[in-house]
Symmetry: C2
């Protein structure tokens, strides 16, 4: 009964009450070969019930779908659909272990794509259109417009393009979320116009996704919260990385290249970038802003500390504690955050105009400053490129962070040559490890190599890289390499379990 | 005397006549350690006299400079400065054999950079500022503003930032060029505004570079034309590439993804891209437009054929015959072309908004569609990345073209793995060789490999790549590789002079 009242308070176009449906009935709208566009961006705001119903149906019904989302999903959705064998194709991002394994076995075709571009590809008809959209909402308005929950992602393009829209009405989210979104659809060829965002807090759209209400074919009521973020707490290395960055920013301020409010900040998802952002709280900054994808714990810490004035993103993904704190009293943040479609949060035009400082995590970097963000050993997909390319390519200052070693030292994050490149040296300004910071701006590759090796690497790996560079330089070139040794570190890791040769291993253990 | 009249007709602020100077005297303004910003973009509109005077001075005077330009220079400027030993650093682009060799020996530090970004790096103070600017002009206006010649490049930022500006007044160019330029300086942080270009023919700036006239410290009169373009004529392979592209565009039109005016076109410099653009004349297109860097012979051929309505660029670089034809009667093209600062011709915001079809040349590609545009054997610089990244990353449809083999077949342009990556798979939609066209949109890497190998490669190399992929797939991954063999083709080329193993070489000869 209470639920019913709640539902009615949240479905304000009375005729849509007829569309209340079970998840299993709603799942019947999804047919073999269809492209399904689901809400959800890095664990936040994803559909939670219908996807599992689709997976259940696959037990009795052999069918395949292409799944598009904002980014990664929580609530075991990717793994359930993978295990059910219903996922033929997936785009643009994922972080699920079961799905990842299926991708790496070649069973699921994964189109890993810049997050700003999925909506564009759909609008330009360059990939197959969305047939059915499944969108999580806190409410449906008087006009049938959909108010999203903790993320916007690609919801607006999915809902506009699909013939059939299934809404998951999540009663777990407070109605206070309404008004937090700014839904703007950029105009399109041949009459594209500028996007009117001049500052992270500019609002240019509406607070809900407007579609013809008759497209809503089912409304499924849920009451399950998003899977919380699994970020690890800051540690000694992430604190050191933050401290190097703070020193760098101070120097930039001293030289008049930045002010104490820096530039609007973008930070990648995950433990390291989040920890580095938290670390900025110890710096001498004021009136910080963010123009980013995901607002993580660190965003709200900086707001609470009075250091950050405003944060724009497309999703809010928090730890369990922070989630409770933020969402149970969202009103206090409502004039300090906005959630936009990912097409807008990651838009090259806006990123460029605002002049962002971008902080993203590298899986590994080479001595010339190329970045691998995605492929372990150059072959096996970790997550995906996400928004890192959208932001980095158009940044004011593009920063990549990584710990200098991984797995207790058997892997160096700085290697002679990458077996996979996601960001080229042209787009990488600053590289930071716990060892130190390399400022690569304006440097030729040979100079970049010295800056990176001397500032970002230590111990045996530094010695090995200096040896490599000395041998490579004898062969000449703008970007010297010893081709037959360039990937030898990865080969050694594959064969022996360590990038360190046996004779050097002794040093590491000692 | 005639010259004198001409000079006066071209220097319309009388007090500037006092600044008439010899090149040698003007060169004295350049001191050791300075950064010199010179006009010039892919052979067009470069300073021709003062740079040689700087080189001459170096015979008696030991000094070093950093040279910034728009892009590559003609008139032996880069080689003269390199031979004189005065060039310590160079950015953002070059195509000179002498300079290239010095770069590859590590003697000149070359900061190879996206062409849209040099001006931004200067404005943000992220690289050392320009001390002296040397700008070629057809005239100086009544207010002391500089009217450029056949390119704009970075002239406006160089002239604004330098304390001292040297003008090379080139009487070889007709005054008809005046009015062809649209000089617009984007507003800057923290008050950046949208760039008001909604269509390639929009004009948003002034026709000359406005600076305080007192910054003009010397005016050197010259009468030497630009080094002409050395593009080779179309051949059988470039015709085949053009024909594959025309078929592709026809299909796109049929599916409603393009109209018969396509989208505004961008084409890279050089023989292949120019030949492909010429080839479009045989297609069923109307009202084409360009929004590109360099307007080459093909642009004017398409305009003359009535197929192209308008072309926007930052430089005009033509063959000797076409140059005579176009520049001796420039009036007839004046409402059909515009030259903009390279910051604007290559601006991510505008490229994105206009939705360009970009056509750039690959040095080599790998089976997954990564592109190497710059580094021979992964180490030795050819030219530079130029504007290819500016355009490709933000394109509506990003196309790369290359002949499938080079050097009579001993080099395959499609290889298992690249030893250098300039454009990642995420930014490459279409790959075309004379063999055929691979449409990579929306495909996972394993699918991309099949599309590329089966459509773009033939003969022994196709067989070898299929073998490689089969072995790589056994190891699994999103992007399968056999690490110890991934660069073996390049190693074999280095050791034996051919990518084909000896036993396969027989097939090639037969």
């Amino acid at each position: 009964m209470k639920d019913e009242v709640l539902i009615k308070g949240r479905i304000r176009l009375p005729r849509l009450l007829e569309k209340l449906s079970s998840a299993d009935a709603a799942a019947e709208f999804v047919k073999d070969g269809m492209t399904v566009g689901m809400s959800g961006f890095t664990l936040a705001g994803g559909a939670k019930s219908v996807p599992h119903a689709i997976a259940r149906r696959a037990n009795s019904d052999d069918f395949k779908i292409t799944l598009l989302t904002g980014a990664s999903l929580g609530n075991e959705v990717d793994s359930a659909l993978t295990k059910a064998g219903v996922m033929a194709r997936r785009s643009p991002f994922q972080t699920d272990r079961t799905l990842r394994d299926a991708i790496n076995r070649g069973e699921v075709m994964y189109f890993d794509s810049h997050l700003a571009e999925t909506g564009e590809l759909l609008r330009r008809k360059q990939i197959k259109p969305v047939d059915v959209a499944v969108i999580e909402a806190v409410a449906i308005t008087e006009t049938g417009a959909i108010v999203p929950t903790a993320s916007v992602g690609n919801n607006e393009i999915f809902a506009m393009q699909a013939d059939k829209v299934i809404v998951e009405l999540n009663l777990g989210y407070s109605l206070e979320l309404e008004g937090a979104h700014d839904i703007f659809c950029a105009s399109h060829f041949p009459h594209a116009m500028p996007i009117g965002i001049m500052s992270p807090n500019d609002r240019i759209g509406s607070t809900a996704i407007c579609i013809p209400p008759e497209k809503i074919v089912a409304i499924v009521v849920t009451n399950e919260m998003d899977t919380p973020s699994q970020n690890l707490p800051p540690d000694e290395e992430t604190a050191a990385i933050a401290s190097h960055l703070i020193e760098f920013f101070k120097t930039e301020i001293k030289h008049g290249r930045l002010t104490e409010s820096l530039r609007p900040l973008q930070a990648g998802i995950g433990t390291i970038a989040n920890a580095v952002m938290s670390g900025l709280a110890t710096g001498p900054f004021k009136h910080l802003t963010m123009y980013s994808e995901v607002l993580q714990d660190s965003t709200f810490e900086l707001i609470d500390a009075g250091m950050m004035d405003f944060a724009s993103g497309t999703a809010i993904t928090l730890s369990p504690e922070k989630s409770k704190e933020v969402f149970s009293n969202f009103g206090r943040y409502k004039d300090k955050v906005v959630l936009r479609p990912q097409r807008i949060s990651n838009h090259p035009e806006v990123v460029q105009r605002l002049g962002l400082i971008t902080i993203n995590t590298a899986l590994e970097a080479d001595i010339y400053g190329h970045i691998n963000s995605t492929h372990v050993m150059g072959t096996h997909m970790m997550n995906g490129i996400g928004g890192s390319g959208d932001f980095t390519h158009n940044a004011h200052t593009a920063i990549f962070v990584t710990k200098s070693v991984a797995k207790g030292g058997v892997i160096s994050s700085i290697v002679p040559m990458l077996p996979h490149v996601d960001h080229t040296e042209h787009d990488v300004d600053i590289l930071v490890t716990e060892v130190g910071l390399a400022d690569l701006r304006g440097l030729a590759p040979r100079e970049r190599a010295q800056a990176i090796i001397n500032n970002c690497v230590e111990g045996e790996y530094r010695a090995m890289l200096l040896e490599y560079v000395a041998e490579a330089n004898l062969r000449g070139g703008q970007t010297p390499h010893v081709l037959e040794k360039a990937l030898s570190w990865h080969q050694r890791l594959r064969e022996t379990g360590s990038m360190l040769p046996m004779e050097r291993e002794l040093y590491r253990v000692a």
